[in-house]
């Protein structure tokens, strides 16, 4: 399951990267009005939200794998995993604040 999620989330992020690159090229560069114009669009907010969900889930699996490989004591590993989860969920909350309070 995690194996599949890691790959599907990667594909979502590739698609978003291509979308963002295309939007920047389409607008001939980025300035404040173009930038905020993107975030004013509901579809772009939703795409950005999906990107962040994919990124944070992807980051969780990756960090957990690294911790499993290098941190042997179960207590310390559990602590670091807990910190990681709290941090990533906090990032998701921050993302939602940014996206849905954008002017």
């Amino acid at each position: 399951m995690d194996w599949l999620v890691q790959r599907l989330s990667a594909v979502v992020m590739v698609l978003y990267t291509v979308l963002l690159l295309a939007l920047v090229l389409w607008n001939g560069g980025i300035d404040y009005s173009v930038w905020t114009g993107l975030f004013a669009h509901g579809g772009f907010r939703l795409a950005s939200f999906l990107f962040m969900v994919a990124l944070l889930y992807h980051a969780w699996i990756g960090v957990r794998d690294i911790l499993m490989d290098y941190i042997k004591p179960p207590g310390i590993r559990l602590l670091l995993e807990t910190i990681t989860v709290v941090l990533l969920v906090a990032y998701l909350g921050w993302t939602m604040q940014i996206l849905w309070s954008a002017p």
Partner: protein, 163 residues
Amino acid sequence: MHKSHRAARAIARKGLNLASLPRSATRFATYPNAPAVRHLKQRPVYLDLPRIRLPLPGIVSILHRISGAGLVLVGIPLLLYAVSRSIASPEAYASMKASFAHPLAKIVMLGLLWAYLHHFCAGIRYLLLDIHRGIELAPARRSSAIVLVVSLALTLILGARLW
């Protein structure tokens, strides 16, 4: 020097190649307590890290980890902070842009850019390997070299534009 010691040193130097070793060293295949084996148990020569040269796919793999860790630790918080400030107001956008012009900020951005590009390219390579594209030794080595070169080249090209 005892024959088995010489054999153990040969293993440490050249890696384990049974054909190149004296017969005394290959005895452990049949006699698990032969001197050569006891010697190896005391000194794990297989894990003598400075002697192990990581092959190209291994280098891509460890850089995939390092770049991923860097992106999580520095990239995500910086991305969120930069986006939140930059859409707040025209003044905040301008000051964000100005702070990215600082040489130190540019070096950090260059590092993050490379991390993203390397992670991106290596990730695509893994997706292709997953669907059994280029899994033979030679193509796998070639694709890992391509990942290293392309991500570095793109970093330089995009970095030059940002600078």
